[in-house]
């Protein structure tokens, strides 16, 4: 089974801090994703990476950046955390190739910015 591991289940940070959320997958997937989940809004894509060092902006990239130095690891960075970034963050991965592939999710990181 695919395993997507997010480094923290819960995280509390202060306004203005630089925050790193880490995600590791163990199935050699090319694609990795960061989503933000808020009540009533579903999952919204922040950033997407289709290969090492390659990235694409999603629907809500403002205030975030990402890093993918190794295939198995995808990091989400909040450059200067703000209270409106308090949310649940989900990482996912999928295979690349022809056709549409299922995404495999981690358990999420609930981030609180005080």
């Amino acid at each position: 089974d695919v395993k997507v591991t997010q480094s923290s289940r819960y995280l509390v940070k202060r306004t203005g801090e630089k925050v790193f959320l880490e995600c590791v997958q163990d199935m050699d997937h090319e694609n990795m994703f960061w989503y933000r989940q808020d009540p009533g809004l579903g999952l919204r894509l922040i950033y997407f990476s289709y290969d090492v060092k390659m990235k694409e902006k999603g629907d809500i990239p403002e205030g975030y950046s990402v890093s993918r130095e190794k295939k198995e690891r995808f990091s989400l960075i909040l450059e200067s955390a703000s209270t409106n970034q308090t949310s649940m963050y989900l990482c996912a991965s999928s295979l690349s190739g022809a056709g549409s592939r299922p995404q495999h999710f981690g358990d999420g990181t609930r981030l609180s910015i005080l």
Binding site: V4, N31, F33, Y35, G40, L41, G42, L43, R44, L45, F48, Y50, E56, G58, D59, L90, S94, S96, A98, G99, S100, R101, P102, Q103, H104, F105, G106, D107, G108
Partner: protein, 111 residues
């Protein structure tokens, strides 16, 4: 633009049927369905690729009407384990691998 799911929430008794709809304003290449239980990761249920395609998984099945740009998820003879929030994810561009998710439908099954 996010697809619209309906209903937003539904409460059933065990054994009853439910239908969850997902409508997009854009032409779709594929539709994914996921279920998320409280405090857990979303899990993949199924992908529908072709217009008019239907798929089944135990007592959960889905259809995809390409012309109407919508998909429906059918849960028959619901079980307690079906409780959770269901999300549709739509892929607009073939091969893009990016999904746009609906806002979710919360399904509660009572004994």
């Amino acid at each position: 633009q996010q697809p619209v799911q309906s209903p937003q929430a539904v409460i059933l008794r065990e054994g009853e049927d439910a239908v969850i709809n997902c409508s997009s304003s854009k032409a779709l290449y594929s539709v994914h369905w996921y279920r998320q239980k409280h405090g857990e990761a979303p899990i993949f249920l199924m992908i529908l690729l072709k217009g008019g395609e239907q798929k089944g998984h135990d007592k959960i099945s889905a259809s995809f009407n390409e012309k109407k740009q919508q998909s429906s998820l059918y849960l028959t003879a619901s079980q307690l384990s079906y409780s959770g929030t269901y999300f549709c994810g739509t892929e607009i561009i073939q091969g893009a691998q990016k999904l746009v998710f609906g806002q979710g439908t919360r399904l509660t099954i009572n004994p």
